[in-house]
C-alpha cells in the first residue's frame, strides 16, 4: 500500500531531539463565504539525520506512531531554503567585513595620493613640474627624474610641439569625423540612385525587378532607397 505523503515547510527546529515542526498548508472550502480559504495544520515530524532547518520545504510520509504526538517522518528535503539562509547568516558577515577592510584601504590610498598631489591629477602634476624645470625655474625635481619624465612624454622643450596627452575631446572629434564621412558616403549612393531614376527609369526598374520586387507598386522614395542600398552593396 502506498503510504500517504504531504508537502510542508519546517517552522521549528532544534528544540526537540530528532524532531521538527512542519506546517502543512491546504485550501479548505468555506461555505459561509463560498470560497476556498488557506488553512494549515502543524505536525511534529521525525527527522532522523537532523538535516532540516527552519524554512526548508520538505516531503513528509506516514510511518507508524513513533511517540505520543509523532507518527510522520521526513522523506526528502525539496528546497534547501532554510539551510542556505543559515549558511548565509554565518558566511556573509565575514565576507562584508573583509570587503570593507579592502575598500577602506583603497579610500586611504586615494586620500594620501590626493594630499600628496594637492588635489591635482597625477599627469597634470608631473607636467607642471616638467614645465618649470624645462623653463629653467626651480621645480625640486632631480635631473634623473626630469630625464625620465622627458622620455615618458617624449618632450625636449616647453611648449611641446606635439600632442602630449590624449584628450577625451580629441577622441570625440575623431568619432564625429568618422560618422560624418559615413553619412557622406551614403549620401553619394542616394544621389546616384536619384539620378538613375530621373535619367533612365527603365534601368532602375530592372534593378528593382532583379531584387524580386514590383516597381509599379512602390513609391518613388522607396524605389530610391532600394536602389541606393543595392548600389552601396555592390560597390
Amino acid at each position: 500500500m502506498v503510504k500517504p505523503s504531504l508537502t510542508g515547510v519546517v517552522i521549528s527546529q532544534g528544540k526537540m531531539a530528532k524532531t521538527v515542526k512542519v506546517r502543512i498548508q491546504k485550501l479548505r472550502w468555506n461555505s459561509v463565504v463560498s470560497k476556498y480559504v488557506v488553512d494549515h495544520k502543524n505536525m511534529l515530524v521525525h527527522d532522523e539525520l537532523d538535516k532540516c532547518r527552519e524554512g526548508d520545504v520538505v516531503r513528509v510520509q506516514y510511518v507508524r506512531p513513533l511517540s505520543a504526538r509523532k507518527s510522520w517522518a521526513v522523506a526528502e528535503i525539496m528546497k534547501l531554503k532554510g539551510t542556505s539562509w543559515q549558511k548565509y547568516q554565518e558566511v556573509i558577515p565575514e565576507q562584508v567585513r573583509e570587503d570593507e577592510l579592502q575598500k577602506l584601504k583603497q579610500f586611504r590610498d586615494a586620500r594620501l595620493q590626493r594630499e600628496k598631489l594637492d588635489g591635482q591629477d597625477p599627469v597634470v602634476a608631473e607636467l607642471r613640474l616638467l614645465e618649470q624645470s624645462l623653463n629653467g625655474a626651480e621645480s625640486g625635481l632631480s635631473a634623473e627624474k626630469v630625464q625620465e619624465l622627458k622620455a615618458k612624454y617624449n618632450l625636449e622643450a616647453w611648449p611641446p610641439a606635439h600632442e602630449v596627452v590624449r584628450l577625451d575631446l580629441a577622441e570625440l572629434e575623431e568619432q564625429t569625423e568618422t560618422l560624418h564621412s559615413e553619412i557622406q558616403g551614403t549620401q553619394k549612393y542616394t544621389d546616384e540612385a536619384r539620378r538613375l531614376l530621373a535619367e533612365s527609369p527603365a534601368e532602375a526598374d530592372e534593378i528593382i525587378k532583379s531584387l524580386g520586387k514590383d516597381p509599379s507598386v512602390l513609391k518613388a522614395g522607396i524605389k530610391r532607397n532600394i536602389i541606393a542600398k543595392h548600389l552601396r552593396k555592390s560597390a
Binding site: 570593507e100 588635489g119 607636467l127
Partner: protein, 283 residues
C-alpha cells in the same frame, strides 16, 4: 451512649475508608508539582537565554564601516560640487593656463601663471562642496552608495541600490529631524522613507536571500529590524532617545505595569527554582 458508640464506629469506619484512598490526593499533588516545576524550569531557561541586540530600524547599528566611509569621503576638504572633482578640474585649469600662455606667445609666462593661479583659487572657492549646501552633500553620498551597490556599471534600479539610496536619504533626514524637533513634516517623511526601504528589503528577501543578507549587513541593519513592524511612535522615540535630552518621557500604561509585574513574578519563581535545583546557574 448509643450515639457515642455510633460516632466512634463511624469515625473508625471513616478513618478506614480515608486510609484506603490517601494515595489519590498525594499523587495528584505530585503530578501538579511536577507540572509547576517544568514550567519554572522553562521560565529559568527563558531568563538566561541570550536576547538578540536591539537594532534601530531607522539608523541601524552604530559605527557601520560603509556609512563611516561615505561620511569620511563626503567630508574631504577638497571636494567639489556636482560631478566635479579636484583631479578633473585641475586638468581643465592646466589646459586653460597653457592656452593663456599660448595667446601671449609664451612671452610673459610668469605674469600669466600668477593670474591663472588666482583664477584657480577663485574657481576652487566657487565649486567647493564646503561652500554649498546639504543637498549637494546628500547627492554625493547617494552617488557613492549607487557605485557601491550596483550589480553592473550604470545600474540604478536594483533593490540593493534603491535600499542604499534610501538609507542615505534616511541618514540625512534623521540628522535634520533630530536637530529640528518641531519639523513634523520631516518626521513624517522619515517614517515614509523607512517604510519604503522596508518594503524593498522584504521584496529582496523574498527573491534573493543572499543579496538581501549582504545588503542589510552592509547597511548596518538586522533581519529583526527589517521584519518587525515599524511606526515612528512615541515608544520608538523614547526607546532610542531620538531627541536626546529633549525626548518626551513615556507614560507607563496599565498594560506595561502588568507586564512588568508578571515578569518580576516569573523571575522570582525561576530564581527560586534554580536555587533549589541548579545553584550554579542562578549565580
Amino acid at each position: 451512649m448509643a450515639a457515642d458508640k455510633f460516632f466512634i464506629m463511624s469515625f473508625r469506619l471513616g478513618g478506614f475508608v480515608r486510609s484506603l484512598h490517601t494515595s489519590v490526593p498525594v499523587q495528584a499533588r505530585q503530578k501538579y508539582m511536577k507540572k509547576i516545576n517544568r514550567l519554572h524550569k522553562h521560565w529559568a531557561k527563558e531568563l538566561f537565554r541570550p536576547q538578540p541586540e536591539y537594532v534601530d530600524p531607522v539608523l541601524g547599528q552604530a559605527q557601520v564601516p560603509f556609512l563611516e566611509r561615505v561620511r569620511a569621503s563626503i567630508n574631504q576638504a577638497e571636494n567639489q560640487i556636482d560631478q566635479l572633482s579636484p583631479e578633473e578640474s585641475s586638468k581643465i585649469l592646466f589646459g586653460a593656463e597653457q592656452a593663456a600662455k599660448q595667446r601671449t606667445g609664451f612671452a610673459h609666462n610668469e605674469a600669466v601663471s600668477q593670474a591663472e593661479a588666482r583664477k584657480r583659487e577663485i574657481f576652487a572657492r566657487l565649486v567647493s562642496l564646503n561652500n554649498s549646501n546639504q543637498q549637494q552633500y546628500k547627492k554625493q553620498a547617494v552617488q557613492l552608495a549607487v557605485k557601491e551597490f550596483e550589480r553592473f556599471p550604470g545600474d540604478t534600479g536594483s533593490s540593493e541600490v534603491q535600499a542604499a539610496i534610501l538609507t542615505m536619504r534616511i541618514q540625512f533626514l534623521a540628522a535634520h529631524a533630530k536637530d529640528t524637533k518641531k519639523d513634523l513634516q520631516a518626521k513624517r517623511k522619515l517614517e515614509h522613507l523607512v517604510q519604503t526601504r522596508r518594503n524593498i528589503l522584504l521584496y529582496l528577501k523574498r527573491t534573493n536571500q543572499e543579496r538581501y543578507m549582504w545588503t542589510i549587513e552592509k547597511l548596518g541593519l538586522s533581519d529583526e529590524a527589517v521584519m518587525a513592524e515599524f511606526h515612528m511612535s512615541r515608544q520608538y522615540l523614547f526607546k532610542t532617545q531620538f531627541y536626546g535630552e529633549h525626548t518626551l518621557p513615556l507614560k507607563k500604561t496599565k498594560k506595561d505595569t502588568r507586564a512588568a509585574r508578571k515578569f518580576e513574578q516569573r523571575k522570582a519563581k525561576a530564581l527560586k527554582y534554580l536555587a533549589h535545583n541548579n545553584p550554579d546557574m542562578a549565580l
